[in-house]
């Protein structure tokens, strides 16, 4: 008699069917005033909010506002607001005023309110939660929209007698078999993926939200003419608990206003700078926002790949999967080398190549340098034409030539193309010898990839992946691989466009500072 999986599935259905929704409206006059003042400033600035001058202070204020409405933390929690940034705003008020006196006044007001809030130890969200459940929240999960405040909130909940048994979770953890009597969502329900609300893992779904945050109701069915009815029943069943002072003002802030669009250009500039001219070796890449205010460029080329971890994989072998970057999605986990350079495959491959590494890499460097020089002396187009004349069988488009020059590419797919390259760079007699070396390198790259994957799979067997799900980030040391430290990062968002970037920036995670993305709509 064995039914562990069926019992768990039954529990999922039971909780989904029984879930009752409870909204706890919270209020705090000063926070409301601050939130509205930020909104007023933003509305006043309109498109000017994108100007460098206003963007930084506005991002700072919005980030602070988002933190305060999205987690039950005291307003004076260290690190919640950039104090030096607030001081900078105060110091530069005259400069702002010279540009737009009204905006400067609004900025001053918002910064002043932020400074006043930041000395208060008030934690209205926690207070309201405790008031709503006088006997304690009991077996509850508190779901946060972002991982980085998890440790702080855990600490705060533990210290409060009414919440001491509650656990803090992130949405990724809720994908596992985790159930509770109560699931508390902080902020707006629409900030969370649909499964959190539509298939809740608790019998009671508590939405802890400032009263002035307005939320649009979700579509009830995924499908056009779908089965799910309009949420009339759910609305009738939902309750509202009066947890604090009554509030009669109907004016509110829409939940989506509290989230900012991701400033991809700014993140890009953090790594590459604003005014860089393009180089022939630049690679087409996509920017990926990672957990913990990190980002990375991943190559867009169809032959490129990234290593991913799926902690919930059905088969153990599927836990570590190499996939084209185009298949990356938010909530996946990507493995990157966080120390020791960007490409662990090259390091490992060189180790496997042993004594032949130096000569093979030397030859690789040689033909690429010669081809690069040829392009610099003429143009990509001219070199493409020359290659065709020299017998290149594939269409020697400029993109192909660019790829062949790149240090990330080992060799062309066909020997005919390689032979044509060797002809136009003036060393046709070495074509076969060099080709053998390139084949040798390619084989060892493949072996290196397989070996890293094997080592990762072995390592993961002995690792607790809870923190990966919870905090969205996990360091994995592979001493046998000489690969430096690998880190698995949760993918938060992927830039919809591609950019040309220097190859050296690929797959190298960088910290962009969260000032303009902590409240990003991901």
């Amino acid at each position: 008699m064995n039914n562990p999986q069926f019992k768990t599935a039954a529990l999922s259905y039971e909780t989904a069917a029984a879930a009752e929704r409870l909204t706890i409206p919270v209020n705090h006059e000063l926070l409301k005033a601050f939130s509205f003042s930020v909104r007023q400033l933003s509305n006043h600035l309109g498109e000017a909010a994108e100007d460098e001058l206003w963007r930084t202070p506005l991002a700072l204020l919005k980030r602070y506002r988002f933190f305060m409405v999205s987690a039950p933390v005291p307003f004076d929690l260290a690190g919640l607001v950039d104090r030096s940034g607030l001081n900078t705003i105060s110091r530069n008020l005259q400069m702002y005023s010279d540009v737009d006196r009204s905006a400067a006044a609004l900025l001053s007001q918002a910064a002043d309110l932020a400074a006043r809030l930041n000395v208060l130890s008030d934690n209205p969200l926690l207070t309201a939660l405790a008031l709503a459940f006088p006997k304690g929240v009991g077996d509850a999960l508190l779901l946060l929209n972002r991982s980085h405040l998890v440790p702080a909130v855990e600490n705060i909940l533990k210290k409060h007698p009414k919440t001491s048994v509650a656990a803090v979770v992130t949405q990724n953890q809720l994908k596992g078999d985790i159930y509770a009597d109560r699931l508390v969502l902080v902020g707006a329900a629409s900030w969370f993926p649909s499964f959190v609300v539509q298939a809740p893992r608790a019998k009671q779904l508590v939405i802890l939200r400032y009263k002035w945050i307005h939320e649009q109701r979700r579509e009830q069915s995924f499908f056009i003419d779908g089965w799910a009815q309009s949420d009339a029943t759910a609305i009738e069943n939902s309750k509202e608990v009066q947890a604090e002072v009554s509030w009669s003002d109907d004016v509110g802030i829409h939940e989506s206003e509290l989230l900012s669009p991701i400033d991809w250009a700014r993140i890009h500039a953090t790594a590459i700078g604003n005014n860089r001219t393009h180089d022939i070796e630049d690679i087409s890449a996509r920017l990926v926002m990672l957990e913990g205010d990190f980002a990375v460029f991943v190559e867009e080329d169809s032959g490129a790949s990234v290593l991913t971890i799926n902690p919930d994989a059905d088969e153990k072998q599927e836990r570590v999967v190499r996939m084209p970057p185009s298949l990356l999605k938010p909530e996946m986990f990507i493995i990157l080398r966080s120390t020791g350079g960007s490409d662990y495959i090259v390091t490992m491959a060189d180790k496997l190549l042993g004594s032949t590494a130096a000569s093979c890499r030397g030859q690789q460097q040689d033909w690429k340098d010669r081809l690069r020089t040829l392009v610099l002396d003429s143009s990509l187009l001219e070199v493409s034409v020359k290659l065709l004349d020299a017998g290149s069988t594939s269409r020697a488009y400029e993109t192909n030539v660019r790829n062949w020059i790149s240090s990330r590419n080992i060799r062309p797919h066909s020997y005919e193309d390689f032979s044509a390259i060797m002809r136009i760079i003036g060393i046709p007699d070495k074509a076969e010898e060099y080709w053998r070396s390139m084949e040798h390198i390619a084989r060892h790259h493949q072996r290196a990839g397989q070996q890293i994957r094997r080592l990762l799979l072995r390592k993961l067997r002995s690792m607790d992946l809870t923190n990966l799900r919870r905090l969205g980030r996990l360091d994995i040391a592979l001493p046998d691989a000489d690969a430096g430290t690998l880190t698995a990062f949760r993918v938060m968002a992927i830039e919809p466009i591609t950019r040309l970037i220097p190859a050296g920036h690929l797959n190298h995670p960088f910290h962009y500072g969260g000032a303009y993305a902590a409240d990003a709509a991901v």
Partner: protein, 346 residues
């Protein structure tokens, strides 16, 4: 034709919880019912595209498949099929030159045997199958004579075996035969082992489906109230989870497979189940002539893409046909979101 009793039987299915057997919950019965209703539809030149979104994908494919299988009568072999089978056995090579391994089925048990030639009895050929090792000149070597009428009980064993057993007990066709026997009578059980054809195709994660179909116990009370235990595979008879000598009613393709493996002579499935949004996206274009159920879970990583695919297909259909006439199957359970509509078979 499906019998109502089989449908009722599904309502007696129990799972084990809190130290006791309890009837399957409503959602599970709803899934069985959906599978049943899909099989129960009259033939049409339009196929059903059904999608359900469930809070937990576990067991949904198995339960839907169970409904589909239960709704089907166990096929009776035609006389022509039996004749062809017997003729093929008669044409087996001379056992003195090439001993052919055989499987002989009798009374709910299977026996490993070796082809021992053909003997004429009363002018009719009978195939000899030896099922016991000969211990001496005077003992062992039990042999059965199979005539044309009982041809369905004898098969070539695709797994070669070198030695016969010393005892002749054989082994039970299924450790949970009593569970399946609550559904099928003995004649049906025999036919299942020999003439079942896969009419259901499941595509999903192999390990997860294996756990659900092979390793979770369910039970059903007999007339005396005693619980007969079994696993879903006793009824679904999934090809991957059966010995190769037994005939399957369900084919299972791992979601990660490169291409659908279709063998010569395979008849197309009557129903295909895509277990998961990713499976749906990867495989739905392969099966455009078959009724299809896609099971999505709120947590599926590719849910949005899969939903977009369905909405786009539905919107396209709505351009050429009235919405109401496209609808099929009413929602059965409050927990499910979903849609069912008719598409042109291709």
């Amino acid at each position: 034709m499906p019998t109502p009793s089989r449908r009722d039987w599904s309502k007696t299915l129990c799972y084990h919880t809190g130290g006791t057997w309890r009837p399957l919950p409503h959602w599970a019965l709803s899934l069985i019912e959906i599978g049943w209703k899909l099989e129960d539809r009259p033939a049409s030149n339009e196929r059903v595209a059904l999608v359900i979104v469930v809070p937990d994908r576990r067991f949904a494919a198995a339960l839907l498949g169970l409904g589909h299988i239960l709704a089907q009568a166990v096929p009776f072999p035609t006389k022509e099929e039996l004749d062809l089978h017997f003729d093929a056995l008669l044409a087996l090579p001379d056992p003195a030159m090439t001993p052919t391994p055989m499987i002989y089925l009798s009374d709910g048990r299977s026996y490993r045997g070796v082809h021992a030639g053909v003997r004429q009895v009363e002018g009719q050929p009978r195939i000899r199958v030896c099922v016991q090792e000969r211990a001496s000149d005077r003992s062992g070597g039990a042999t059965h004579l199979i005539d044309r009428a009982r041809a369905g009980k004898l098969h070539v064993d695709p797994e070669p075996h070198n030695r016969l057993g010393r005892n002749v007990n054989g082994r039970s066709l299924s450790k949970s035969r009593s569970f399946a026997k609550q559904v099928y009578d003995s004649s049906e059980l025999g036919r299942l082992h020999i003439f079942a054809r896969p009419t259901l195709l499941m595509i999903g994660r192999l390990n997860a489906l294996r756990n659900e179909i092979l390793y979770e116990d369910f039970a059903t009370p007999d007339k005396r109230g005693a619980y007969k235990e079994g696993v879903f595979n006793d009824l679904l008879r999934v090809d991957r989870f059966l010995p190769s000598s037994l005939r399957a009613r369900t084919r299972l393709i791992p979601a990660a497979a490169e291409e659908p493996i279709v063998e010569a002579g395979d008849s197309p499935p009557k129903l295909v189940i895509f277990d998961g949004a990713d499976t749906h996206l990867r495989w739905c274009h392969h099966f455009k002539a078959t009724d299809a159920v896609s099971i999505f879970c709120h947590k599926d990583r590719q849910l949005d893409d899969a939903v977009a695919n369905i909405n786009q297909r539905y919107a396209t259909r709505c351009e050429s046909k009235d919405r109401d006439s496209l609808k099929v199957l009413e929602p059965l359970q409050r927990e499910f979101d979903g849609i069912a509509f008719l598409e042109v078979r291709r």
